[in-house]
């Protein structure tokens, strides 16, 4: 190896300007890809995390069909049994029970149709961010019965404040009329308008009494220790649910099934990103193809001499490939370092795109976005660049094989 590499190295520095420009072009592409991918991955993680923590949890056990129809009769009749399975699944960080019923909620002046959610105050705090979202008043505590949490937009629409009474009127599990009066204990704001104006939360015990649930719930919501464990937990829980004899009645749904829009939106963003990146890499490839090509035309004489003194065409190609590989590697290493530094800077300080905070909030993103540097995000882009650069370098490297020593030596 040594002599070829040495020659390649020296050749590169015979025309430092050209080599540096080529290396810079490669670095630029790598830098951009590292940064953009880190950004995309970072925002996906935040989006998933916030959606999971506000809405669905990582996975849920529900009656079959409940997710589409939300019928009050489609229940998990023995929640404690499902809870036991989750207790025995080590990757589960926390779980809670919820029950939902669409009802009419009236204040003194207004009536709205909203979803009344029964929550277990203590368990809910471990699974969702609801407790942290309280902006006025306080969260439900364990002994509460006729207290409720209300979203900020709904509270505004209903014109209620803390301590005001709300009349709830709905239909129970057995078809009877479910009616009660609750007091507003806390007002929360998630920033996602849909969530903030469409539901009120009351203690699960109270919910089960009012809606004659006979101890049943609609959703058993679990949060894994992290996103990676979800499929593992899902398998374990699905097997456990089979065992408790609910043949085909209960289903285990993960967050992707519960929020199909979220995962598709992420895929779409990823695909469209890839189209942009691909075009960028192709443009860069053509930019450097020229450099590689010109370099061999300029050095036709030199190659003629090398061939004349007995260098095999294969070795010549190898020499050229080593040259381009050195440039490509130097370029992507430089690009990865710069890209990582740039990403790291923004990972610490965050990026604010002015005028977008309202939009970000609706997707559960904070106003300030923090890109997330990872081995994956720092390597995919540069790897693609390396691959394309190598392909580009093949063309001139193969072309020199066709040089004839005599003709080449007499070229200008």
């Amino acid at each position: 190896m040594s002599i070829d590499v040495k020659m390649a190295w020296r050749n590169l520095w015979r025309n430092p300007r050209r080599s540096i420009l080529t290396i810079l072009a490669i670095s630029f592409a790598s830098l951009l890809l590292v940064f953009m991918l880190s950004w995309q991955f970072g925002s996906y993680e935040t989006m998933i995390d916030s959606a999971v923590k506000i809405h669905t949890g990582h996975l849920q056990v529900q009656a079959k069909g409940y997710n589409d129809k939300k019928g009050i009769r489609m229940v998990v009749s023995d929640p404690a049994a499902v809870g036991n399975i989750l207790n025995n699944t080590p990757e589960v960080a926390a779980y809670t029970y919820r029950a939902n019923a669409f009802s009419l909620v009236s204040s003194k002046e207004r009536t709205y149709g909203v979803v009344v959610v029964g929550i277990d105050p203590v368990r809910e705090a471990g699974v969702s961010t609801l407790k942290k979202l309280i902006r006025q008043g306080s969260y439900l505590s364990e002994g509460d019965t006729d207290q409720a949490l209300v979203g900020a937009l709904l509270a505004r629409n209903l014109k209620v404040g803390l301590g005001d009474e709300l009349v709830v009127l709905g239909q129970g599990r057995d078809g009877s009329v479910a009616a009660t009066v609750v007091k507003v204990k806390g007002i929360y704001r998630s920033g996602q308008d849909d969530f903030d104006r469409s539901s009120i939360q009351i203690p699960l015990k109270n919910f089960q009494d009012i809606y004659s649930m006979r101890g049943a719930v609609h959703e058993v919501v679990a949060l894994g220790k992290s996103l990676e464990y979800v499929s593992e937990i899902k398998m374990a829980v699905a097997a456990g649910v089979e065992d408790i004899g609910n043949k085909g009645h209960l289903v285990v749904l993960d967050w992707m099934e519960l929020m199909p829009g979220l995962i598709e939106a992420i895929q779409m963003d990823l695909y469209s990103g890839f189209i942009f990146y691909l075009i960028l890499i192709v443009v860069v490839a053509f930019s450097i193809l020229n450099t590689f090509l010109m370099a061999i035309f300029e050095r036709t004489r030199e190659f003629g001499v090398l061939l004349a003194i007995g260098t095999t065409p294969g070795r010549l190609s190898k020499l050229l490939l080593i040259e381009s590989t050195i440039m490509a590697i130097a370029g992507i290493v430089f690009g990865i370092i710069l890209g990582s530094l740039l990403t790291w800077y923004f990972q610490v300080h965050g990026i604010v795109i002015s005028g977008t905070s309202e939009l970000m909030r609706q997707f559960g993103l904070p106003e300030r976005i923090y890109p997330q540097l990872s081995i994956l995000s720092a390597s995919i882009g540069p790897a693609a660049v390396l691959f394309i650069t190598f392909l580009t370098a093949l063309y001139p490297a193969l072309k020199v094989r066709r040089f004839r020593p005599v003709e080449a030596m007499t070229a200008i």
Binding site: I266, I288, L289
Partner: protein, 407 residues
């Protein structure tokens, strides 16, 4: 003469010229084509937003936007109609609606919906509903208890044409008013959320149920030319007493779409610059090599008395030709590809729920905006010439003697 010289020079090494032109062509194509796609996406969003009961301009009773309830309705629609008639340009259309939150229920299901009372004939020209009914029929003026609901709601409620559905909402006396309607039509919309959210009855039926008399919730206007929106809204606003009415354009009514449009704008120009930088390295390098290859030639020119300025001009003229041909072909290709796709559009129905999450339409029709094309071309041209200045200056600095003795 030096233009001719430059033209001949770029063809002395056609392969080099062809490669760098390819880079420019792909760059320009990607700028304009992807720009057109993004414009297509955003136009789709805007079109969708406007036709989903927004319109270009809306007039409400003051306070309705923050608190869309029956108390905030306009009791005297004639005043608004007169103002619209006097201020709007010819060809503008408008319609009035009653629009309140309501609860829909049947024997098995209950859900919150937006209950909209429309004027069937006028509404058809303004929002999506006129063409969206796919089963049964659209509303007629004399439909006293007919209702048109979305496909998704019908599925959720396990009901169908001819079946009953009960609406409950608060009336002007703050009592809960309820009334049964019979489903006469089922509509399909771009978004499932729209199908679940809106139910339509005639304006008279809604007014009667809510004891509104002649009152309406909103007036929605479509202008013949979308560009006049701001101006028209100002005129309408001036013609109405501002204590009682608020006039808003779709940009204010759909803040999220407006925010997305702004992001797209910014992103597009960043993309232009990024692609240019990628091309720029190639342009500089190619021009540099072209210059160094011809050191002797430039030395000769100089010793024959050519001024350094002329050499700079000569090198820049070569870049100019390469850029000119590259951008021209790039433009032609991008127009052709946009044209090829604009007939049927790009159908992304496979990703329907993702599109819905992001608020995009299912079919994207790429749209070329002249100012995007101009900016893309200017970026390539001006920056392309600027980066060629460096090699050009290098060429002008060769001293004749050194250059002539160069190998």
């Amino acid at each position: 003469m030096h233009l001719q010289l430059a033209w001949r020079n770029i063809w002395r090494n056609p392969k080099r010229t062809a490669v760098i032109m390819t880079a420019i062509i792909i760059g320009v194509w990607s700028m304009i084509f992807l720009g057109a796609l993004m414009r297509g996406i955003s136009e789709g969003m805007v079109r969708n937003g406007i036709s989903t009961l927004t319109g270009h301009i809306q007039v409400h009773h003051r306070g309705y936007r923050n608190d869309p309830v029956i108390e905030n309705s306009m009791t005297d629609p004639e005043v608004v109609e007169t103002a619209l008639r006097e201020t709007l340009p010819d060809g503008a259309q408008w319609t009035s609606r009653v629009r309140v939150n309501a609860v829909a229920s049947n024997a098995r299901h209950t859900a919150g919906v937006t209950f909209v009372g429309i004027d069937p004939a006028h509404e058809a020209g303004i929002s999506f509903i006129g063409k969206a009914v796919t089963e049964g029929r659209y509303l007629r003026d004399d439909d006293k208890n007919g209702i048109v609901v979305g496909r998704a709601l019908v599925d959720k409620f396990e009901t169908g044409l001819g079946r009953k559905i009960i609406m409950m909402s608060q009336d002007t006396d703050r009592e809960v008013a309820s009334r049964a309607f019979r489903i006469v039509g089922i509509f399909k919309a771009e978004m499932q959320a729209t199908e679940k959210q809106f139910v339509f009855v005639t304006k008279e039926a809604a007014q009667h149920m809510l004891k509104l008399k002649n009152g309406i919730s909103e007036m929605s206007v479509i202008l013949p030319d979308q560009k006049e929106v701001r101006h028209a809204a100002d005129n309408v606003s001036a013609a109405l007493p501002s204590a009682d009415y608020e006039v808003q354009t779709w940009r204010e009514l759909l803040p999220l779409i407006t925010a997305i449009l702004n992001i797209y704008d910014g992103f597009m120009y960043i993309w232009f610059v990024v692609v240019f930088i990628a091309m720029g390295f190639g342009i500089v390098n190619t021009t540099l090599m072209a210059v160094f290859e011809r050191i002797r030639e430039f030395g000769l020119f100089k010793s024959l008395g050519m001024k350094p300025m002329w050499i700079i001009r000569e090198v820049l003229a070569e870049s100019f030709f390469i850029l000119l041909i590259g951008t021209t072909i790039g433009n032609i290709l991008s127009f052709l590809s946009v044209f090829a796709l604009s007939g049927n559009g790009i159908d992304l129905s496979a990703l329907a729920s993702g599109l819905e999450y992001a608020g995009m339409s299912r079919i994207i029709y790429p749209a070329i905006y002249s100012h995007d094309v101009i900016i893309a071309n200017l970026v390539v041209f001006i920056l392309g010439l600027l980066v060629s200045v460096y090699p050009a200056v290098k060429a002008a600095r060769f001293t004749p003697v050194e250059a002539l003795t160069h190998a």
